[in-house]
C-alpha cells in the first residue's frame, strides 16, 4: 500500500477477472465464434449483434505496454522492416502477428477486420497490413474529419451509408443474418455502460477526487473492448457505487490532495505507477483526462431506437476526429468543471492526431487560464522513447510551479 496514494479500488479484482476472462476466452474463441479484429473506435455494435468474438489489437498492445513487453515484441516487427517511427501499438501487434509472442497466451486470427478512421488514419494503414497478411475482408468505416463546428450532412450520410454497406459483408462472414432486435439491445447496453463510465469520471469533480486518472486508465478496458456486454454494465454500476462510497467516506485518490491536474493524450502505460506516485508525493492528483473522457462523452448520441443514425453521429464525433480548437475547448471546460490547477499534455510520438496541436493548446491554457501546462514527450507504449531523467526534471519543475500557486481549492471534509 502506498503512503501517498489512497487505497486501491476494491472493484479492481472484478476488473481483473473480467479482462483476464475476456483474453482467456479469446484463446479458443475461434472454435465456436467468428473472430473480428476491430479498432477501438469502430461501430462494434454490428459485429456484437452478429455474435462475432471481438478482439481489439490496440488493447492488446496496451496490455503489452503495461506488462513492459512492447520492446521485445515490436522488435519482431522492426526486424521485418517496420520503422520505429510508426505507431508503437501497430508495431507491437504486427510483432505479435509475425512471431506469435503475446502476454495473453494466444490471439485468434481474424475472419474479418473492421477499421474506423475516427481515431486516426494510422489504423487504416495498419489494418491494410493486417488484411494483406491474413487475406481476410477489411471493412473500412471512413469518418470525415470534423475541422470545426459540426459535421456536414453529407459526411454523416456517408458514414451511415458505409455502416449499412458493412452489414451484408459482416453477415456473409458470420454466416447469419443480423437481427434488428439484437442490434438494438447491444446498442442499449453500450449506451448504459458509456453513461455509467461518464458518471464515474464526473464524480472526480468532487474534492478530493475519489479516483485518479491512473485508476481510470486501468479500469477503462471494458468500456473499450466489452462495450455492449451486460457484464460491462454490471461492472461499471459496481464501480460507480464504490466511487460514491469513497466520496461519502472522504477517501481521495491522493492522501493529501493539494493540487488537481489534467492529463491529455494516451497514458504512458509502462510508467503509470511511477507517475502516480511522483505526483502523489507532491500532493498532486491527476483528476481528469481527455482520453478517458472520450469513452464517455459520446453517450448522449447513442440511441437504440434509431441505431444507424445514432451510430453515425457517435462514431463521427470522437475528440480525435475533431479539430485542435475543439480539443482545446474540451480541456478548458474540464479545467473549469473539475477545478484544475494545471495540465500535463503527453506529447505522444506514436499518436500524431492527438499530439499535433498540443504546442498551441499548451500556450492557450497558460494564457487563458493562467495555470501551468507541461508538454511531456514520451510514447504510450515504447519505453525507448521515455527519458527517465528528462521526465523527472520536467515533472519536478512543473510541480514546483504548482506549489507556488495560491491554493484555490480545499478538500471537502468527509460527507460534504
Amino acid at each position: 500500500m502506498s503512503d501517498v496514494l489512497g487505497p486501491p479500488l476494491k472493484v479492481s479484482h472484478r476488473h481483473r477477472e473480467l479482462v483476464a476472462g475476456h483474453w482467456l476466452k479469446a484463446r479458443r474463441a475461434d472454435r465456436d465464434h467468428k473472430i473480428a479484429w476491430v479498432t477501438s473506435g469502430a461501430p462494434v455494435e454490428i459485429l456484437k449483434a452478429l455474435d462475432f468474438f471481438v478482439v481489439y489489437p490496440e488493447n492488446h498492445a496496451a496490455i503489452c505496454g503495461a506488462a513492459r513487453k512492447t520492446v521485445e515484441i515490436s522488435t519482431e516487427a522492426e526486424d521485418a522492416g517496420y520503422s520505429q517511427d510508426i505507431c508503437s501499438y501497430a508495431r507491437t501487434d504486427i510483432g505479435t502477428m509475425l512471431s506469435g509472442k503475446t502476454p495473453v497466451g494466444r490471439i485468434p486470427p481474424p475472419d474479418l477486420l473492421l477499421a474506423c478512421t475516427n481515431i486516426c488514419q494510422t489504423v487504416l494503414y495498419w489494418y491494410r497490413v493486417l488484411a494483406q497478411h491474413f487475406d481476410v475482408p477489411l471493412i473500412l468505416i471512413d469518418t470525415p474529419f470534423v475541422y470545426g463546428g459540426e459535421a456536414t450532412r453529407h459526411a454523416l450520410e456517408y458514414t451511415k451509408q458505409q455502416m449499412e454497406a458493412a452489414i451484408p459483408i459482416a453477415e456473409r462472414v458470420a454466416e447469419k443474418p443480423l437481427k434488428q432486435q439484437k442490434l438494438e439491445e447491444v446498442t442499449r447496453l453500450g449506451k448504459m455502460a458509456t453513461e455509467l463510465w461518464l458518471e464515474i469520471l464526473k464524480r472526480n469533480q468532487h474534492h478530493p477526487a475519489p479516483i485518479s486518472v491512473m485508476d481510470q486508465f486501468i479500469h477503462m478496458a471494458p468500456i473499450v473492448e466489452m462495450r455492449g456486454d451486460p457484464d460491462t454494465v454490471d461492472f461499471y454500476a459496481a464501480m460507480l457505487n464504490e466511487v460514491d462510497e469513497r466520496i461519502e467516506g472522504g477517501i481521495g485518490a491522493v492522501l493529501d490532495e493539494r493540487a488537481r491536474i489534467l492529463w491529455d493524450n494516451l497514458p504512458i502505460w509502462y510508467r503509470l505507477r511511477y507517475l502516480a506516485e511522483f505526483l502523489g508525493s507532491h500532493g498532486v492528483a491527476l483528476v481528469a483526462s481527455t482520453y478517458t473522457n472520450a469513452w464517455g462523452e459520446l453517450a448522449p448520441y447513442l440511441d437504440s431506437e434509431r441505431v444507424m443514425d445514432s451510430l453515425a453521429l457517435a462514431y463521427t464525433y470522437p475528440i480525435l476526429n475533431r479539430g485542435t480548437g475543439h480539443k482545446l475547448n474540451t480541456m478548458l471546460h474540464m479545467i473549469r468543471d473539475y477545478e484544475l490547477d494545471g495540465a500535463i499534455l503527453h506529447s505522444d510520438r506514436s499518436c500524431k492526431p492527438y499530439s499535433v496541436g498540443q504546442m498551441d493548446q499548451r500556450d492557450r491554457i497558460l494564457r487563458d487560464k493562467g495555470i501551468p501546462a507541461l508538454l511531456l514527450e514520451a510514447d504510450h507504449s515504447d519505453s525507448r522513447a521515455f527519458s527517465e531523467a528528462q521526465v523527472a526534471n520536467r515533472l519536478a519543475a512543473f510541480v514546483e510551479m504548482l506549489e507556488r500557486l495560491p491554493r484555490k481549492h480545499r478538500p471537502c471534509p468527509p460527507g460534504c
Binding site: 470525415p144 474529419f145 459526411a155 456517408y158 480548437g325 510520438r349 496541436g357 504546442m359 498551441d360
Partner: protein, 364 residues
C-alpha cells in the same frame, strides 16, 4: 543527351503575379489530391506547396513537434512567409494525420490572413465515396462563390475539367515516353512538376514542345522506379543520372500517383470526384497494399525498370507502413529495391549517395 531543359520554365512567383495581373486569384494548395478544375473555374490558379524545401523551419517548429514530417513543418513556415502572401486562399486537402493537423492548426491557431478551406478525401472509390466527394466539392464551390463572388456554370466547370484532363493525358504520355525524351531526370522532373503551378494551358504548351523533341532511346541507362512523396532534394536526380540511371517509372505522390484518368459523368462535380478516386492506387485514398503491388509490378514491367528506390520523407508514417509488404513482394518477383529517407531541409549525405551508387552497380 542535352543537359539543358528543352523549354524554359517560368518561376512560380512570376506565374502567380502574371495570373493575378490578369484579374485572377491564387490558391496555395497543400498535398495531395484536389480538383484543379474547380479552382480554375473560379479564376483561381492553384500553386502547390510540397514543403517546400529549404525554408527556415522556425515557425513550423513553434507549432508542431520534431516527430512531424518536414513537409508539414516547412509548409507551416512557408505559409507564414512573405512569399506566401501572393495566395488569396489556402486549400488543405486531407491526406494523413499530419496534414489533417496542419489544416486544423491553420484554422484554429495560426489563422493566416487568407481563408483556409479544408477538403476531405474519402478512403473509398466505391459509389458512396464518389457521391461524398462530389458533395464535398459542391460545398467547396459554395465557399469559393462567397470568396470570389462568382458562380461558374456547369458548362464552365466542364470546360475547365476537359482542359485539365487534356493536360493530364499529356502528362501521362510524358511519363510513358520517358526513355525517348532527350532530357535529364532533373529537367524532366522540373518540367512535369511545373504542373504544380502552371495553368493547364501553359503546361500543355510546354509538354507539346518537349514531345516534339523526342529523340532516341537512352538504351544504356539503367531504368528504375522512384516511389515516395516528393523528389527533394532534386539533386538526387542528378546523382541518379551520374550513376548511369534513369527514372523510368514513377510512384511519387506529387507526380505518378496523380495521373488521373478522364472522368465519365456529365455532372461536373461527380466527374471531378471520379477522376481523383479512379487514379493510381494511393494509401491516402484508402487503396489496398495489394493494389499498390499490382500497380507497381505493371509499371515496372511496362517500363523495363530494373529496381525500385523507395524515397521516403522522414516520419511519413503511411509510406513506412506499406514499405515492408511492398519490398517483400518485389523481392518475390526478383525486383531489387532500396530505401532512402530524407528531410526536406537536409542535403543527401555522402553515405546515402554511396548507397545509391552501390544500388546502381548491383542492378546494372
Amino acid at each position: 543527351m542535352n543537359d539543358q531543359l528543352a523549354v524554359e520554365l517560368p518561376r512560380r512567383t512570376e506565374v502567380a503575379q502574371a495570373f493575378k495581373q490578369d484579374g485572377g486569384m491564387v490558391a496555395a494548395v497543400l498535398p495531395i489530391h484536389y480538383p484543379r478544375a474547380l479552382l480554375r473555374a473560379f479564376g483561381i490558379l492553384p500553386m502547390e506547396v510540397w514543403g517546400p524545401p529549404n525554408v527556415d523551419p522556425g515557425v513550423g517548429t513553434a507549432h508542431v513537434q520534431a516527430y512531424v514530417c518536414s513537409v508539414v513543418r516547412n509548409a507551416l513556415s512557408f505559409l507564414h512567409s512573405d512569399t506566401a502572401k501572393v495566395a488569396d486562399l489556402i486549400l488543405v486537402p486531407h491526406a494523413c494525420d499530419s496534414l489533417q493537423g496542419l489544416g486544423s492548426l491553420l484554422l484554429d491557431f495560426v489563422q493566416p490572413e487568407q481563408p483556409v478551406i479544408p477538403l476531405y478525401l474519402p478512403r473509398s472509390n466505391k459509389a458512396q465515396g464518389i457521391q461524398f466527394l462530389a458533395k464535398e466539392f459542391r460545398s467547396i464551390y459554395d465557399r469559393l462563390e462567397e470568396i470570389t463572388q462568382r458562380s461558374p456554370s456547369d458548362s464552365e466547370l466542364m470546360t475547365n475539367i476537359r482542359r485539365e484532363e487534356a493536360a493530364d493525358v499529356l502528362l501521362a504520355q510524358l511519363h510513358s515516353e520517358r526513355r525517348c525524351l532527350d532530357i535529364s531526370d532533373y529537367d524532366f522532373y522540373r518540367m512535369i512538376r511545373s504542373r504544380e503551378f502552371l495553368p493547364a494551358e501553359g503546361f500543355i504548351d510546354l509538354a507539346e514542345k518537349l514531345r516534339s523533341r523526342m529523340g532516341g532511346k537512352r538504351e544504356r541507362a539503367i531504368g528504375v522506379m522512384l516511389s515516395g512523396i516528393v523528389p527533394e532534394p532534386m539533386e538526387t536526380l542528378e546523382s541518379i543520372t551520374e550513376f548511369g540511371g534513369m527514372v523510368v517509372a514513377d510512384d511519387l505522390a506529387c507526380t505518378g500517383r496523380r495521373l488521373y484518368p478522364p472522368g465519365e459523368s456529365e455532372d461536373p462535380f461527380r466527374r471531378m470526384a471520379e477522376r481523383i478516386l479512379h487514379g493510381p492506387p494511393d494509401w491516402s485514398l484508402g487503396r489496398s497494399i495489394q493494389s499498390r503491388i499490382d500497380h507497381m509490378r505493371e509499371k515496372i514491367r511496362s517500363t523495363d525498370a530494373q529496381g525500385v528506390i523507395f524515397y521516403s520523407v522522414k516520419f511519413c508514417e503511411p509510406e513506412l507502413f506499406d514499405l515492408p509488404s511492398l519490398r517483400n513482394e518485389l523481392d518475390r518477383s526478383g525486383i531489387p529495391s532500396m530505401t532512402m529517407e530524407i528531410d526536406l531541409n537536409d542535403p543527401l549525405s555522402d553515405q546515402a549517395l554511396m548507397r545509391l551508387e552501390t544500388f546502381f552497380e548491383m542492378i546494372a
